[in-house]
């Protein structure tokens, strides 16, 4: 009856099961499990992992490896979104990283040397860090909306990448560089190890330092944060810089996968997949609370979905259609209107036994 919708305290369920259901990662994990199950039903040995030459092989390992670049991009995106921002330029940054590193290796006298590869990677990462700083500058100092500020680099970035590769698809042969994308270490794909390593690093960085809390604070209530003395500018700048750096690393892995820098197609639409992964993982586009583990699950869902489409035999080109279904389902479930309806229903259900008791 009340004219305003006040903050409704959620009905407190007792019992372990409902607590599990209410965990924010419950539905994403269910979605992932359903996907994996569907695959196992379709091809029973889907989850099987075999050992070959001391390396692990199998679909789960493929999912791990294929997830690496998206996970890296999505990690940065999570932090950016938590501050109420968005970074559309990550795909272009991916392309630039590949272009820079491979062009450097291709033009060096000794493309196979470890030192060459390390220098190439260093230059690429430094440049991508700079691109992130550039985005951060536009957003936090100049005060341009994030979506527009990063649209600029999104548009110009691929041009810059092509400028670097001179419009060619640069290919190289360099064993050390190839290791990043296709190598194995301790039986596991190097790419996956790198991505998971960065994941652990970001988790530590956000939860061991105060970065996570301040990022959330700025995202939840910018005015209160300002009055509390939080340097919002530094925080926003930092997350954009990190997003650039991680996208660069993702770009290196993608370039190493195919040992080619394709300025036009490397990381195409990765920004959309990353945003999708973040949203599926339960981080709201309105900013505030973020969940890195949610993003991890979101990334696995997208990679598994892509792999599933291939395995089932549908043309991979149709994948967007399935993604659309996932986006629509997730966003509608998260939409305030639907949530209110669902909440009202569960309240009614919860209220009924009490009425009986009384």
């Amino acid at each position: 009856m009340s004219p305003t919708t006040g903050t409704r305290s959620r009905t407190d369920y007792s019992g372990g099961l409902s607590r599990v259901v209410r965990h924010p990662l419950f539905w994403p994990l269910v979605a992932l499990a359903v996907l994996l199950l569907a695959n196992t039903v379709y091809s029973p040995d889907f989850l099987a992992i075999s050992v070959l030459d001391g390396h692990l092989f199998g679909a789960p390992i493929d999912i791990l490896r294929n997830s690496a670049p998206l996970l890296l991009v999505a990690l940065g995106m999570t932090l950016v979104i938590a501050t109420r921002g968005i970074d559309l330029s990550v795909g272009a940054t991916v392309a630039i990283a590949g272009a820079v590193s491979l062009s450097f290796i291709a033009s060096s006298p000794n493309p196979g040397a470890v030192s060459t590869v390390l220098v190439a990677m260093g230059i690429a990462l430094l440049l991508c860090l700079f691109l992130g700083v550039w985005n951060g500058l536009l957003v936090s100092v100049v005060g341009i909306q994030p979506i527009i500020a990063t649209l600029i680099l999104m548009t110009a970035g691929r041009g810059i990448a092509m400028l670097i590769t001179e419009g060619q698809i640069t290919t190289v042969t360099s064993a050390p560089f190839k290791t990043l994308g296709s190598g194995f270490w301790l039986g596991l794909p190097v790419a996956a190890l790198v991505a998971l390593g960065v994941y652990a690093l970001v988790a530590a960085l956000t939860r061991r330092t105060a970065l996570g809390m301040l990022v959330e604070s700025v995202g939840i209530n910018p005015s209160a944060s300002r009055l509390a003395g939080v340097k919002a500018r530094t925080i926003v700048w930092t997350v954009f810089a990190l997003s650039g750096l991680f996208s660069g690393l993702a770009g290196l892995i993608l370039a190493s996968n195919v040992m080619a820098a394709d300025a036009n197609n490397a990381g195409l639409f990765i920004e959309l997949d990353a945003i999708l992964a973040v949203v599926i993982g339960g981080t709201s586009l309105q900013g505030g609370k973020f969940s890195l583990s949610g993003t991890l699950v979101g990334v696995f869902i997208i990679t598994t979905l892509t792999l599933t489409v291939t395995i089932v035999g549908v043309s991979p080109l149709v994948t967007p259609l399935f993604k659309a279904v996932v986006v629509i389902a997730v966003t509608l479930l998260q939409s305030p209107v639907v949530r209110e309806k669902l909440a009202a229903r569960s309240r009614r259900r919860a209220a009924r036994p009490e009425e009986v008791a009384a």
Partner: protein, 349 residues
Amino acid sequence: MAIVTPEKTPTGERTASRSHEKGPRMTAMVRRLHVDRRYLPVLGTFVVLALILVIGGVRYDNFLSPGVLANLFINNSFLIVLAVGMTFVILTGGIDLSVGAVLALSAVSAASLLQSGVPVLVVLPLVVLVGSVIGLLIGIMVHVFEVQPFIATLAGMFFARGLCFVIAPESIPISDETFVAIASWDTWIAGQWRMTTSVVVALVVVALAFYLLHYTQFGRTVYAIGGGEQSARLMGLPVARTKVLVYVISGTCAGLGGLLFAMYSRSGYSLTGVAMELDAIAAVVIGGTILTGGTGFVLGSVLGVLVLGLIQTVITFEGTLSSWWTKIFIGALLLVFVVLQRVLAARRT
């Protein structure tokens, strides 16, 4: 917790008093210049356009020939239509990422339907309608379910792109005689200026959009929503209907754009129009429409498309400059315009 009804928000009051201080000075300045500040960004676009024309005209022979300029319209007619639709959405403060994919879907459907022998007169309205329906769905997501336009149109983009591949993964040539006849119809204005069907369609769309935006209550409501959704609601304007309608218009324009693209390329291919939404957005922004909504003109967006087209033309004429410079130039131009808008906005508040 007690509900406190704040009877005065200090923030609002402060901004109010600030604009109040600047108000008279700005008015004086604008009066002196005799230019309404609302036209300043479009004027900027016009200056850029003129500059490119002059530079091109000085550097290259034949650059200012009617043929080159007519081709500018012919090659960009579908982009003009997309930009027009995008202008409506951006004016309300939204964004539409789906237009590139919807354009492809419309083109592929047209080609596929024509291939299976459906008559042209059925195909033409049908594929445009496909765009309208997708726009309607997006509008409902945005307004009824309060999904952010970015995400809703992203879903629309994935959906349309996926459908393209379901219909036909490979390129379908269009050989229907009536369709080809319509596509290849042209006329010469003043004997030198070539106009094709798609140019005529694009110009009609521009005129229609201009009429809608400036001479109907719907159009003024679009601007009002961009100026402040809350205010528009308090003024008693039909906000809900208008917000859904802009996405329908954008979708319809994308559908029509697909048709024009099919005429232009005489085929339907599911990979066309990738990232074309960015070109459309860039054209709108360069055309002086502010991405937060409320300020901009559909004619500005047309100028924006022409600027983009001219940059491409210049690079073609230059010969030694590679094609990727187009993107870098567009990015740089975007930067300049966005910073300029930011400066103008900062002076206003």
